[in-house]
Symmetry: D2
Subunit: 124 residues, 4 copies
């Protein structure tokens, strides 16, 4: 067996980090929202994902300006879109911590998920 | 054109009521939840659906006992299931009010959506 | 008890119709899709909703032009949005049939759900 | 900067793998399904996730026995649950391939996502 074949804590930390972002995105986008209700939606997303395995820390922020520009004039609400989300998650898997994020990438015109930092759970 | 073909406020009130329950159910079931986070999830569901057209009033209650019995021993959370939900919605469409609900029906073993009351928006 | 308080087959037909559209919308919007996969997504949505109570007939059509214009240049796919959907559902509740639809309303800039026709299940 | 801080292709492969499984799970669980429609749902899930970035290969299999045991006697369908899913995904991120899976773990009573193999994209 080659070295590359061993699955490490680091591998699992990144894998778990991806799961949380994919889950969050596809569970909550589409939710009806407006400026009056955005706070409770942020809170619920944050708390919901925080109960999942290996999630150490999570902050969820929804772009108020994007909501304002998307709210339907007739009906007074819009749907939560991926590009409105700014999410930061820290995963701790045994010896390894991983910071990952979801944020709208203007250049790619895409809600981009990426790895920000990987480090030992001893340093932090 | 026969009388039956005319679409009434009452028809629309019931149609809108169904939309809200179907939307809520399929948007939010599957959300990770435990006893510490259930309150924020209830609040978010309630506020999210309240912004939709013709929704006058809504209360969402998630069954704590069902959560307790479903929480995974290893991981400390479960997913929101339809049968954990007790939802009451009042729709107001012009002259008509409709009270509808979603609640677990033990006999049918089914999260049942039903019409509870239809009445004039003048009486209420 | 006044006449208005009695819940009729017609009420239930419209209520059930609303449930199906709300369910479909919030279950499937957000699904990754492109022109190569749109057919299987249409089929799955159609068949999935067809198993629900009182659904007699359903057709689901996803707007290819909308997909083409939304597909991300870098990644080659987009998400299913409500405004890409054209859905026709016929509900049969005992004596009553109801035809309802979901289609993008250009003027309202909104994926509009509406009642198209209500009629006796004997005439059809 | 320490070695551990550099983000590698391997990190990204695992991160992307997790995203796909989390997304798939929370997008499609809850879908109404029975034995007649299970095939089209499998196909749609498979094709939908296949369009996402870095997804090289994916197979989705839904447990027919689990559906049979869960189908509601009165209504003839059930909802897709995570524990009904057996999913295998191969991610290719530049030089690295990762095989991951979602399958019901009987002992944990949990739909477990895990890393099966990580290897160079040259060997395969």
């Amino acid at each position: 067996m080659k070295d590359t074949d061993m699955i490490t804590d680091r591998d699992n930390a990144l894998f778990e980090a991806g799961i949380k972002l994919g889950a969050l995105y596809h569970q909550f986008t589409g939710s009806p929202v407006n400026l009056k209700t955005v706070k409770s939606l942020e809170m619920a997303i944050q708390e919901s994902i925080s109960v999942q395995p290996f999630a150490r820390d999570i902050t969820v922020s929804i772009d108020r300006e994007a909501i304002t520009s998307k709210v339907n004039g007739e009906f007074g609400y819009c749907e939560l879109e991926g590009r409105m989300l700014d999410v930061r998650i820290t995963i701790c898997y045994k010896t390894i911590m991983a910071d990952v994020s979801l944020a709208y990438d203007l250049e790619l015109d895409y809600p981009l998920m990426k790895i920000d930092k990987v480090y030992s759970s001893n340093q932090s």
